[in-house]
């Protein structure tokens, strides 16, 4: 039976979280359909058609899907749900917002934030901020699944799927889009970045966060933050890495002035290499760091910048 993947996009670009979800879907079924619902999203559909493993792209191009509101999108997905063995979405704020509505309407449980597919109906998912891993079996009903993108490799762009138009369905007219404040950054997106540099409370102020950003730019890295730094107003909410923020697993994670509360570790401990810079040598972050540097970040970061300059540009 086919499975359906809900594409994550902004009507212009397809998020690589979709390619990662397609990989997860491939462990459940060999017939993968991808739904691109949006407004003027034809370009996204063409991108999705290249995803290796995708057999068919369904496009619902309509103004009511422009902002991925849960109510109209859930109505659309429910109208398409019948033939599918599983419906998957990346565990982004959109996926988390929309999928439980589908599950409830289909009267089935949802499996949130899976990190592995052990068999087509057996999944692993972290609980307790990643301090325990639950192995779950779901059989006998349509599986509604959100996928932790950081846990899966992106499907390659070698495919050539057929694109099919689907009809928009009536908007339940419960919700309306008012506005958005999105940060546009030239830096790589946090969850997709190969390197992430994050700052915590120790950074001290919004102005000082420049030090973090400057290192990040030297390395071509994404910028993250601990909850404490976000709560203190140093950076906006979308920078937060942790249990309830973004989950990242880059090749290199540099934590600066972050003590390492379990809620923060939950968001980065699957990084391949972790560096901690903190003046408190007993900070818990050092217990998960491959390289720890005890020191005042206001001295260390300028030195680090100089040391990076000396070796020329990164590969």
């Amino acid at each position: 039976m086919p499975v359906l993947v809900l594409a994550e996009h902004d009507n212009k670009l397809l998020s690589d979280t979709t390619a990662k979800t397609v990989t997860a879907a491939g462990h459940i079924s060999t017939e993968i359909h991808v739904l691109v619902a949006g407004a003027n999203c034809g370009g996204v559909a063409s991108e999705a058609a290249k995803l290796a493993g995708a057999a068919k792209i369904l496009v619902a191009d309509d103004a009511r899907y422009a902002h991925a509101l849960a109510e109209p999108l859930a109505a659309l997905i429910l109208s398409l749900a019948e033939p599918y063995e599983a419906i998957l979405a990346p565990a982004t704020t959109n996926g988390k917002n929309i999928l439980p509505r589908i599950a409830a309407k289909l009267d089935v449980p949802q499996i949130s934030d899976i990190t592995a597919v052990e068999a087509p109906d057996i999944y692993l998912r972290p609980i307790y901020a990643g301090n325990a891993i639950e192995k779950i079996e779901a059989s006998g009903f349509t599986k509604i699944i959100t996928v932790r993108p950081a846990a899966f490799k992106a499907a390659e762009n070698t495919g050539n799927a057929a694109i099919e138009t689907v009809t928009a369905v009536a908007d339940p007219e419960l919700s309306a889009f008012v506005g958005e404040e999105l940060s546009y950054s030239k830096r790589p997106e946090l969850t997709a970045a190969r390197i992430v540099v994050s700052g915590g409370r120790g950074v001290g102020s919004k102005e000082n966060f420049m030090l973090i950003e400057s290192i990040a730019d030297k390395l071509g890295a994404g910028v993250g933050a601990s909850r404490a730094a976000v709560d203190a107003g140093f950076v906006p909410n979308e920078f937060q890495v942790g249990q309830t923020g973004k989950i990242v697993a880059p090749e290199l994670y540099i934590a600066v002035g972050i003590s390492g509360a379990i809620q923060h570790l939950a968001g980065m401990k699957d990084s391949k290499l972790v560096v901690a810079i903190n003046k408190d040598e007993n900070a818990p972050i050092f217990s998960v760091a491959d390289f720890g540097l005890v020191g005042d970040l206001f001295e260390v970061l300028p030195e680090l910048e100089r040391a990076l300059d000396e070796g020329g540009t990164p590969p």
């Binding site: 307790y128 958005e180 560096v275 260390v300």
Partner: protein
């Protein structure tokens, strides 16, 4: 307008979680339990609506064993008006919780349900959305700001790219994010007063909901542990190590 606030009893966020040796779950014996932090934010937001004259009554509801009375008392000590304890002795899934809350909504009925976006034990992030779907209500998830008018509610949501603002019809379900508010501490006099506030006790069977889980938990295990690595003495040293490792 009544505001219903579902509150969950969870392992305290400061407690280090231990997985049971037999892999059957997480060890909860003699572990400090508290109200789910996101639910505490929900209680606070409901109280602010009441204090600004926009809500008439705040009802805290919890589903679980009798110990959930403590969780409800926490909400009452903060200022909620009354409690509803729905007894259920087995672990239940978010869909079951949503179905039970739907039945509660039919009895009450509230103009707004405010609840945490996720519980810090199962990290599911489902119940609010499921409840909204079952009721055919709109949902304002991951809220960092709400503004209530006569017939509508404007919700600013924390989304991956930043903030999104939506307008919803009422009644609606709101789920809270971290920056919606900072919950108050319950004062001693209020804690005393809360002991006299009414808590109605019912059973999940009273609502005609079957609590049997449908997902099978095969095992609960420890995640692979990261080990502390080496200390470096300087930034130059660090850059050298990172270049050696080939990551920069």
């Amino acid at each position: 307008m009544k505001v219903l606030v579902p509150v969950k009893r969870v392992i305290d966020f400061n407690v280090a979680v231990r997985v049971k040796a037999d892999g059957s779950g997480v060890d909860l014996t003699n572990v400090k339990m508290s109200i789910n932090p996101f639910d505490e934010i929900a209680v606070e937001e409901a109280l602010r609506l009441k204090e600004s004259g926009k809500a008439s009554e705040v009802i805290a509801v919890s589903i679980g064993p009798k110990e959930c009375t403590e969780t409800i008392r926490t909400a009452l000590a903060m200022g909620a008006d009354r409690g509803l304890l729905i007894l259920c002795d087995q672990a239940i899934e978010p869909l079951t919780v949503a179905k039970t809350l739907k039945a509660v909504c039919a009895e009450e009925p509230p103009g707004l349900v405010i609840m945490g976006k996720q519980a810090i034990d199962d990290d599911c992030n489902q119940t609010g959305q499921m409840l909204a779907a079952l009721l055919d209500w709109p949902q304002g998830t991951f809220a960092s700001k709400i503004e209530l008018t006569e017939k509508r509610i404007t919700v600013t949501r924390e989304v991956d790219g930043g903030l999104q603002t939506v307008e919803l019809t009422l009644p609606a379900v709101i789920t809270t994010d971290l920056r919606l508010n900072e919950p108050r501490y319950a004062s001693l006099p209020n804690i005393m007063k809360a002991r006299k506030k009414p808590i109605e006790v019912r059973s999940i069977a009273d609502y005609g909901v079957d609590p049997t889980p449908r997902l099978k938990v095969l095992a609960v295990s420890e995640p692979p542990k990261r080990r502390a690595g080496t200390r470096v003495d300087s930034a130059t040293d660090l850059v050298g190590k990172l270049r050696e490792a080939g990551v920069i």
